[in-house]
Each structure stands twice: as structure tokens, then as C-alpha cells.
């Protein structure tokens, strides 16, 4: 499709919002569900954008920044792959496949920017000497804008060149066995996200609940809302009945608290 100048500007703005979302992790504008939908909206094919967003969201479900560890970047992956599908005429499967190397590229870029902003942190030290609050605002916002540019500039390059024959030839040169294979892989890749979430919980002793969820889903047709309610009920009941949280009751129960303590000691 032909991309007009207004759409180019809008893509740039959406990419900025998504890039800021990626570092802030507040409004979630970097998540595929939001970013792909917005790109679809400005490129005039919101439905395709939403479908790509939903598909990518499942793959990216476990991508999260924990402590100082930087996750694969869903902002660059969402924005560029949606542009390639809608404006570049690729099919959705190919877009999803391209999203993964893009997530890696985005990760490298954010690590770069997060290193550059160390200088901003040092700049802030000056305000401790002269009490200038305005400088702190400027430094913080500029650092945020750098993160916006990290996505917006690559997006701008892609939206401008996607119609050219060189880029088209490159995209169309991907053999069928690759796109087909990537499509198959897409159904498996989602488990990487699940595995990341499970590992993050760091609670091996709670794994029975994982298996319970697995079996309930295997033999019922419950949707996510129903499963969520069941999970919540189990969690509440577990907390209510757990002796760990009911020590006071045990202590006032009888005079045999001495034996309870012994038991506790052994459990510890």
C-alpha cells in the first residue's frame, strides 16, 4: 500500500509513545496488543493490527524487566512487524517470524540507551550543588525522549523504505519452507514466555497448582475468566487454611504449645 505523509507522521508518533512505554512499563503502550493495534489504526487496517497484536502478545507474555535484567523488546518488534505486514504486504505469519530478531535488536538498542543515560544521572549531581530543580526535569524527560527515538527512528526508516522494490524483493525472497516452518514454530514459542513467568515466581513448592491448571484446562472447555475465578478461589482457600498464617490460633488452642514449637522447629 502507499503510505501518505500524514500516516508517516502518525507512525512516528505511535512509535514514540511505544518507545516511551517500553522503558516506563506503566501504560503498557509497548505491549504488542496496544502497539500493533495503534499502528494498524494509523495505517488504515486496524483489524490486522489487532490480530498481529494478539498473536505477538502471547509470544511476549513473559517478557519482563526484573531487577537490572533487560527483556527482549516488544516495542520494536510490534511496531516494525506490523508495518511490514500492513504497509509491506507480508502475511501475518512472516510478520510474527520477523518480530523475534526485531525484539533482539530492540533489546540491544535499549541497553545502549540505558548506558547513555548514565551521563544524565551524573548531570543530575550538579543540581545537588546549585539546587536547580528545572535541570532535573529536563534531564529526566530528555532521557525518556531518547528512549522514544530508539523506536521512532527505526520505524521511520522502515515506513519510508517499505514500498521500495529493494525491500519488497528482500521480503518476498523468504522461501516458503521458512515462513511455513516459522508458522509452526509460533505455536510452540509461546511456551518460552510461560516458562519465564513460572521461573520468575521462584516457588517450586507451589508447582502442584501449575499441574492442576494444566489438567483442568486439558479436560474442560472453561474460558480464561472461569479459570481465573477457580485459580483465585484456590489461592484464597490456600491462604486461609495454611497453618503458617494461623499460628496465633494454634498457640491459644491448648497447653500443648510446646510440642507445636518442636514441630515447627523440625519443619524449619
Amino acid at each position: 500500500m502507499d503510505v501518505n505523509i500524514v500516516q508517516t507522521i502518525l507512525v512516528f508518533i505511535v512509535a514514540c509513545i511505544s518507545g516511551m512505554g517500553s522503558i516506563l512499563d506503566e501504560f503498557q503502550t509497548h505491549r504488542p496488543l496496544i502497539a500493533c493495534t495503534l499502528i494498524g489504526l494509523v495505517l488504515g487496517d486496524i483489524k490486522t493490527g489487532i490480530i498481529i497484536g494478539g498473536t505477538l502478545e502471547m509470544i511476549a507474555l513473559g517478557w519482563m524487566n526484573i531487577g537490572a535484567a533487560v527483556a527482549p523488546d516488544s516495542a520494536l518488534a510490534s511496531i516494525i512487524s506490523t508495518i511490514l505486514v500492513i504497509a509491506g504486504g507480508q502475511d501475518i505469519g512472516a510478520g510474527i517470524a520477523l518480530a523475534v530478531p526485531l525484539a533482539a535488536a530492540g533489546q540491544v538498542l535499549t541497553i545502549l540507551v540505558r548506558s547513555i543515560t548514565v551521563a544524565f544521572q551524573h548531570g543530575a549531581d550538579k543540581s545537588a550543588l546549585d539546587g536547580n530543580l528545572k535541570r532535573l526535569d529536563i534531564l529526566h524527560i530528555t532521557a525518556l525522549l531518547l528512549q522514544a527515538m530508539r523506536i521512532a527512528i527505526p520505524a521511520l526508516i522502515v515506513i519510508v523504505t517499505v514500498g521500495t522494490s529493494a525491500v519488497q524483493d528482500m521480503l518476498n525472497g523468504i522461501p516458503d519452507v521458512v515462513t511455513g516452518g516459522l508458522n509452526v514454530a509460533g505455536g510452540i514459542i509461546v511456551v518460552v514466555g510461560y516458562a519465564m513467568v513460572i521461573n520468575m515466581m521462584q516457588a517450586p513448592y507451589l508447582m502442584p497448582f501449575f499441574f492442576l491448571g494444566f489438567v483442568v484446562a486439558a479436560f474442560t472447555d472453561f474460558n480464561l475468566v472461569a479459570l481465573g475465578v477457580i485459580g483465585l478461589v484456590i489461592a484464597i482457600v490456600y491462604i486461609q487454611l495454611n497453618p503458617k498464617y494461623n499460628k496465633v490460633v494454634v498457640a491459644t488452642n491448648s497447653g500443648s504449645s510446646g510440642t507445636d514449637d518442636d514441630l515447627d522447629d523440625e519443619l524449619d
Binding site: G53, M201, L206
Partner: protein, 281 residues
């Protein structure tokens, strides 16, 4: 103009200012002091109110809040609230030194991150996102909208509650944390999160091994019944292969293999499987 009271007090507006600014908390996240500048940025309305321009106190306050800080961005809200209360007391002459204010920050950021990560990243976001994605797959705008509204309602609600709660409690918040509440929340949300992950591993994956094991021709009807490897696996338990893949990934991730390498490896498996005909959608 009287000299009735010199007491400095943060207004509701100041608290709201901190709340609004805290939405940009991680804007200047960097590898040296991480969220330090973001913390500073969020505290500015209070610094403005409590310490007059050009004063030595203001410079000290800026210096104080430019120290290393890193936690889950949302749970920073109650820490900000506690610091607001302490700064207010200090500005009114209470003997609260830099070490006390920084001690609270450093003391709370670790334990609270341990609560925020499983609750928000491990449970709330994946569940809302999976719900949104399931609706979005058919191109329905409700999917992204639902995710955006639900997650941000929870997030903004928590942020505002955190700042006002921290501010009203002050440093007493530490004794509150001594209770079981945080542990209960963490454990409860981990249970919910793991339960849903189990369900997703089963439902929201697709692996099919179409290799044919046997072809049986019915003697009555002449119809040929083919049995594939997948059929046999499904008879045991649907979703066994995704389960195996999940545990494989968990093991690799624990070995510090980058998730992107794992994804790449699965791509290669997918391409080879598709080409060789032993994997399909």
C-alpha cells in the same frame, strides 16, 4: 500575615503531583543508579514545597534522592509516600537524618520488589494480556481495550493508594510489613499465576505431530482410520508436548540461556519439522 504557624505541610495537590510524576518513574533508567533520577523526579513537588529555593536544605534533599534506587516501578509508590512523610517531618525540625531516609528506601525496595514482580508481572499482566489476546485473535478491538483499561485501572489505583498510604503511615509502615500481609499476597498471587500458566501451557499452544503410526481399514465400511503420533499422545493427556517444551525452556532459562536463543532454536525446530513433515500447525 501572621507568624501563627511555621509548620510546613504537604498539600493534597503535592501528593497528586508526586502521583502524576511517578507515572514517568523509569524514564531515565540507567545502568549506574537505575531509578535514582526517576525517584528524584517524582519527589520534586515535595522538595519544592518543603525546602525554599536557594536554601542549603534543598540542595541536601536533591543530593539525598540522587542515590541508587531500583525496585518494581509500581511498588515504589508506597516508598515515595513514606519518604514524603519523613521529609515533611524533617522540614519541620524532626531529627531525621539522611541515613534514616535512605535506609527506608534501601530497606523497602528489595522486599517490595519481591512482592511487585510476582503480583504485577507474574500474575496481573499475563492474565489480562492473555484475556485480551484471546479476544484480539479474531480482530476484535475489545481485546486491546480490555487489557489496557483493566491493567491501567489496577496500576493507577495501586499507585495512588500506595502514595497516600505510605504518606499517612510514615516510617510506621515498617511495622506493618512485619505482618503476614505481603507474604500472603505474594503467595496467593503466585498460586493464581501458576494455575493460569498451567492452563495456558495446555490450551494456548499448538504442536501437532502428524506422523502416521497405523492405517486400519474397517472391514464393514471400507473406511480407513489413520492414527498419528499426536492421536496417541492426546489419548494419554492433551498437551503433553507443550508441557515438555515448557520444562525444557525453564531448565534452559535457569542455565542463563537467553530467551531469544531459545526462541531461535524453536524456529529452527519448526522449520526442520515443517520441511520434514513431522510437525504441523
Amino acid at each position: 500575615m501572621g507568624t501563627i504557624s511555621n509548620e510546613k505541610k504537604l498539600t493534597k495537590r503535592d501528593l497528586f503531583g508526586v502521583f502524576v510524576r511517578s507515572n514517568l518513574f523509569q524514564g531515565s533508567w540507567n545502568f549506574e543508579r537505575m531509578q535514582a533520577l526517576g525517584y528524584q523526579f517524582s519527589m520534586i513537588p515535595a522538595i519544592k514545597r518543603l525546602y525554599p529555593e536557594g536554601s542549603e536544605e534543598r540542595k541536601q534533599a536533591i543530593k539525598r534522592h540522587n542515590e541508587f534506587f531500583n525496585t518494581h516501578p509500581f511498588v515504589a509508590a508506597p516508598i515515595l509516600g513514606v519518604n514524603l512523610a519523613m521529609e515533611e517531618q524533617r522540614a519541620n525540625g524532626a531529627p531525621i537524618d539522611d541515613a534514616a531516609i535512605n535506609g527506608i528506601k534501601v530497606g523497602l525496595m528489595g522486599p517490595l520488589a519481591g512482592v511487585g514482580d510476582p503480583i504485577f508481572w507474574g500474575t496481573a499482566r499475563p492474565i489480562f494480556a492473555a484475556l485480551g489476546a484471546s479476544i484480539a485473535m479474531s480482530g476484535n478491538i475489545l481485546g486491546p481495550l480490555l487489557f489496557f483499561v483493566l491493567f491501567n485501572a489496577v496500576r493507577l489505583g495501586f499507585r495512588w493508594w500506595g502514595i497516600s498510604y505510605g504518606y499517612s503511615k510514615g516510617s510506621d509502615v515498617v511495622s506493618d510489613m512485619g505482618g503476614n500481609l505481603l507474604q500472603k499476597l505474594t503467595e496467593g498471587s503466585s498460586i493464581l499465576g501458576l494455575f493460569i500458566m498451567g492452563a495456558l501451557v495446555n490450551k494456548w499452544t499448538s504442536i501437532n505431530v502428524p506422523l502416521v503410526v497405523s492405517r486400519i481399514k474397517s472391514t464393514d465400511t471400507g473406511k480407513i482410520t489413520t492414527t498419528t503420533v499426536q492421536d496417541i499422545l492426546d489419548q494419554l493427556m492433551p498437551g503433553l508436548l507443550p508441557l515438555a517444551f515448557t520444562f525444557g525452556c525453564m531448565w534452559l532459562l535457569k542455565k542463563k540461556v537467553s530467551p531469544l536463543w531459545i526462541i531461535l532454536a524453536i524456529f529452527v525446530i519448526g522449520i526442520i519439522g515443517y520441511w520434514g513433515g513431522f510437525l504441523s500447525k
